[in-house]
Symmetry: none
Subunit: 207 residues, 4 copies
Amino acid sequence: MCSAPIPRSRTGRPRSARADAAILEATRAALVELGWSKLTMGDVAGRAGVAKTTLYRRWASKNELVVDAVAVLFDELELPDRGSLTADIEGVVRQFAALLERPETKTALMAVIAESTRDEPLRERIRVSIVERQKRLVLEGRRRAQARGELPTTSGTAPGTDDLIFDVIAGAVVHRALVSAEPVDAEWVRRFTALLLGGLAAAAAQP
Amino acid sequence: MCSAPIPRSRTGRPRSARADAAILEATRAALVELGWSKLTMGDVAGRAGVAKTTLYRRWASKNELVVDAVAVLFDELELPDRGSLTADIEGVVRQFAALLERPETKTALMAVIAESTRDEPLRERIRVSIVERQKRLVLEGRRRAQARGELPTTSGTAPGTDDLIFDVIAGAVVHRALVSAEPVDAEWVRRFTALLLGGLAAAAAQP
Amino acid sequence: MCSAPIPRSRTGRPRSARADAAILEATRAALVELGWSKLTMGDVAGRAGVAKTTLYRRWASKNELVVDAVAVLFDELELPDRGSLTADIEGVVRQFAALLERPETKTALMAVIAESTRDEPLRERIRVSIVERQKRLVLEGRRRAQARGELPTTSGTAPGTDDLIFDVIAGAVVHRALVSAEPVDAEWVRRFTALLLGGLAAAAAQP
Amino acid sequence: MCSAPIPRSRTGRPRSARADAAILEATRAALVELGWSKLTMGDVAGRAGVAKTTLYRRWASKNELVVDAVAVLFDELELPDRGSLTADIEGVVRQFAALLERPETKTALMAVIAESTRDEPLRERIRVSIVERQKRLVLEGRRRAQARGELPTTSGTAPGTDDLIFDVIAGAVVHRALVSAEPVDAEWVRRFTALLLGGLAAAAAQP
DNA sequence: GTTTAACCGAGACGGTACGTCCAGTCTTATT
DNA sequence: AATAAGACTGGACGTACCGTCTCGGTTAAAC
C-alpha cells in the first residue's frame, strides 16, 4: 500500500516515514470522531502534528488519503482453513461484517465509492487498495473447496463466477449493514451462507 | 414525495408548489451535471430560479434535498407479472440496474447512504423514501410466486427471508454496478438470478 | 410631524392611528436596546405588534422611520425666559446636552446625518423635523435679548448670524458629547457660554 | 496607520504589506462611489484584489476598517505659521472644512461616530486615529500664539481650554458642513474666526 | 344594510451581504 | 529538499434582513 505515487527526487532531505504513519492514524481517528464529511485536511494535519503542506506532498486529495487510511484495515481479512466451504464462507462474511461495523470504515467506504463514480483515478485506487484485497479471499476459498472436492474443478466453471460470488457476498453484507442498517448476526450469516451454497450447488449441477 | 414534514401555519402566504417541483428538478439536473460532491445549494437555487432561503425553508440540508430529489425515481420501479418467478426476478434486477445507471442516482445514492451512517434522521428518511419503496417489490414477487406454487406458503418460511432476499438482490446489483463498476448485462442477470433461485429452492427443500 | 407623505385614498378602511404611535414608540425602544445599526424593521414591527407591511405602508425606509421616531424628542426643547441672555444660552445648551445623553438620540442622530450625506430627501426630512426645530430657539433667544437691550437690533446685525450661532452651539455640544465623549457638565456649559457671549459682544462692538 | 494591533507570530508566511495598502485604498474608493452604508466587505475585497478572509484577518469589522482608511487623511492637516492667530485659525478651519468636503470623509465620519456610541473599542480607535490627530493642531496654535504674545501664558489659562476650543472649532465646522449642509466659505470662516477670537480675548481679559 | 376599497396579520418570496470555514497553494525561516 | 507555520485566493456555507408579494380576513366610510 504505497503512500503516494507522486514522483520523488533522490537528493535533499528524505521524507519522514514517521509522518506517513502518523497521518494515516490521524485520518482514521478523525473518521471515527467526525465522520467523512466533517473530516478536514487541517484537522488531520493538526492531529498528526504535521503541516498541511506535508499532507499534500503525499496525497493529492482528501479522498485518496482516506482510501489509503482505510485500505490497511482490509489487510486484516484472512481466510484460515476452517475445514469446509460452509465454515470458510461464514468466516469471511463475519470478518467482513466486523470490518464494516468499525466506525471509520462505515463512514468512509460508501463515501469514497460515491466519489469514485465521477473520479476514475479514485476508482482505480479503490479497486487496487480495497476491492482486489477482498476478492482474493473468494479465489482462495474456491480453490480450497475444489481441493476438498466440494466444488467441481475450474474446467467446468463458467468465467466470471468468482466475480459474481464476490459481488453477492460483499454486496449483501454491505447492504445489510449500511443500507438496511440491521445487524449482521450469527443467524443472518448462517442463512445467507446456506442460500449462497444452495445456489452454488444448483449451479454446479447444471452449468 | 412530500417535500418537507416541517409543521406549517395556516396564515400567511402559502408556499409555492411550483418552487418545490422546480427545486427537485433542478437538483436532479445538478446531480447529472456536477455530481453529488460539487452540487451546491446556491447552484440548485439558481437553476430553480429560487432564492437560497426558499431551499432552506423546505430542506434542512443538502442530503435531505438529494434524497427527496432522487426518491421519486424509485417510484418508477414496477413488477409486472412476467409469468414466472425467474422472469420476475430478472425483470426487477434489470429495472434496478437501469435505475443505478442513471447518473443522478449513481452519484447520489452511495453518498447519502454514507452520510446516513452518522445521521439518524437521514437514515430514516432514506428508509422511508427509498428502501421501503424497493422492498415492496420483493414482497409482491414472493406472494405471486406462492400463488403460482413456485414457492411454499408463508407457513413454511422463516421470518426475515424477504429481508435477506432484498439485501442479496439490491446489494449484489449495487456492488456490481458501483463498486466493481462492471455492467449489469443480460448474462450477469441470468446467472445471478439462477444462483438466487437455486439457493431459494435448496432453502425450501430443507428449512 | 406628519407620519407619512405617501399619497392616500379617501375611501376604504382608514389607517390605524394607534399603529403609528406604537411603531414610533417601538422604534425608540429598539434604538435604546439595540442601537441604530442593529435595529431591524422586523424587530420594530414585532415590538409594535404590527406586520412589516404596515411599517412600509407608512415609511419608505428605516432612516425615515428613525428620523420621525427621534424628531418628537426635539419638541421637548423649550426656551423659558430665564431673565438674561447668559441664562438663556446656558439653559438651551443644558437642554440640548440632556437630549443627546438619551441613548435613543445618541445612537440615532449621527447615524441618520451620516446617511443624509448621500440621500437628499432624508436630509430635507432631517432639516424640517430636527434642525429647524432647534434653530427656532436661537431666533427666539436673540429676539428676547434684543428686547432686553443685551444685543443690538437686527438692523445692525449681519445676515446669517443666527445660523452661525446655531452651528457653533449645536456643533460644540454634539462634538463634546459624541466625538470627544466627555460630559457636558455645568462647568463646561458655563465656560462655553462665556466664550460665545464674549464673541458676540466683540462682534457687536465692531460689525 | 497601523493596520491591526492583533498580536502576530514569528513563523509562517508574513502578511502582505501590499494587501494592507490595497485594501485601505479600495476602501476609500468604495466610500467615494457607494457611501458608507452601501460599502460591503466583499466589494472592498474585490476592488483590492484580495480574498474576503484577508480583510477579516486584519480588521474585525467594517467600522474599524473604515476608521483606518479615513484616518490617514487626517495626517494631511498641518498648521504652517501664517503670522497671526487669526490667520492660523482661519487656516485650520479651511483645511478641516476641505477635508470634510471630500466624499469619503463626509460619508464615513459621522457613520463611525454613530457606531462608536455603542462600541467602546471603536470609540478608542477613533480617538487615537482621528481626534487626537486634530487636537494637536489646537495645542500647536495656542503655543504659537503665546509665543507671539497674542495669548497669555499657560499659567493664566484654565485647564480644559484647549478641549473647549477644539470642540467649538471642530463641532462648528462639522455642523455647518454636514448637518446644516451649507458651504464653509471664506465669509463664514472669517465670521466664525472673529467670533471665536472675540470670545478668547474676552475670556483672557477676565479669567 | 350592503358594498367596497383599503386596511390588517402572517409569512413566503427573490435578493444581497454577512462572517465563517475549508480546499488547496504559496512564502517564509528552519532543519 | 523536506519541514512547520501560517498567510494566501477562491468559493460554498447557512443566517439575517431587506423590501415585496400574496394570502385570508377585518373595518369603516360610501352608497
